[in-house]
Symmetry: C2
Subunit: 236 residues, 2 copies
């Protein structure tokens, strides 16, 4: 299958590598491919430059967002939450009719803070939108011809692509969306990643809770100790 | 132990009954005890009048909020989120120095809607405060001499007092607060209720995520079918 991943950060790389491993034809989108490939320094999170990462993975192609979106039959959005609506709107034609899985958390972008993640517990992240709207709903409104699924957002992407690494895989992944066929495509992908328990939370309005869960996720992460991998299982 | 429960709704009754069963001396607070006892009709949620419920439970005393707060060594707040700060502020003296466990979700009160719970999925609840503050932090600021613990809020109270009823009890309860001794008191109570896994999410700022989880909790509940009991387990 031809699958597009939009974004080149750590989460996007987890999907790119795993999708290639599963035998898919992977296309990657970035704002400016030449600028992305020209970077030679690790970023502030310690993530290696994408060019050197890609050099070890032949067969994966880097395009602009729009060109990459045009290639895939299914598209995974890994663009930062605060840039996502604008960037995706520029690829609306290429995304029309396609399943678009969005896992971004819409952290409120503050240019005075280098990254929005809290230190325990000095700075708490805040979200925009929140509570009465969600990023996923904003994306769906901006791209009415696409089929948006919110998914993957309640987990680190490294665990999304490798669920068995936590508790033998005995935990739950959530999806929501207004298009049943797109949710089935997302579920099929999650099953291929190794998920046994994918819980459909209904229409896209449930993305609000999935995005707002970012607060709980970070609090649990800090409670367990930074870097501890964990999952949440819906026990019923 | 002398334990006070503020509130007479379904959640409060779950605690009152269980605490009495565990042998505690239970004091219950309500705004106007005579008015509470005078009610003879079930409310819109189908909850029976408190007077008839209480009549079957000898030894449990009903007081005003302040008088009830003065009786307990530990206090559980089951007052509706939108009334909690005002009602608790009126009992600040009686609550000074005490552990105050708050499980309210601060649903935004809309007098035009009979109750704030969503129908799948016509009306989604919204929260006030949300994201950059929490009800628990508001209560702690309003009652600086009390020791507020946010807890119980990620579950139906019927399951909080009887965790073994779901998955044999193999799920997780969360607490947060700025006072270690108060969190220990809350943990001891949860252990008596039957909880094996109580996860301390750190300072009270983590109450934001616990309250915001209400969206996920309701979405999961609707996905599983209204009335299905479930828990969430942190798998690590």
């Amino acid at each position: 299958m031809k699958i597009t991943v939009l974004g080149t950060g750590g989460g996007a790389r987890a999907h790119i590598a795993r999708l290639a491993e599963l035998g898919h034809e992977v296309h990657v989108g970035t704002r400016d491919p030449r600028a992305t490939l020209a970077r030679t320094e690790s970023d502030m999170m310690g993530t290696a430059p994408f060019g050197s990462w890609l050099a070890d993975r032949p067969g994966i192609e880097l395009h602009t967002f729009a060109d990459a979106a045009g290639q895939g039959d299914l598209v995974i959005n890994g663009i930062d939450g605060h840039n996502a609506v604008a960037a995706l709107s520029g690829a609306a034609d290429q995304l029309a009719g396609k399943t678009l899985i969005d896992y971004a958390v819409p952290f409120l972008y503050n240019p005075d803070i280098e990254h929005p993640w809290p230190t325990p517990w000095g700075t708490m992240p805040t979200l925009d939108p929140c509570d009465s709207d969600s990023l996923a709903e904003q994306i769906q409104r901006a791209l009415p011809a696409s089929k948006v699924v919110k998914g993957f957002v309640t987990q680190e992407q490294e665990t999304v692509v490798d669920p068995k690494a936590v508790g033998g895989g005995d935990h739950t992944m959530f999806i929501a969306g207004d298009h049943a066929d797109a949710k089935q495509a997302a579920t099929d992908l999650l099953t291929a990643y190794g998920w046994d328990d994918v819980l459909d939370l209904g229409p896209l309005v449930s993305a609000r809770g999935m995005e707002m869960y970012a607060h709980m996720h970070s609090a649990i992460g800090f409670a367990l100790g930074f870097g501890t991998r964990f999952g949440v299982k819906v026990v019923r």
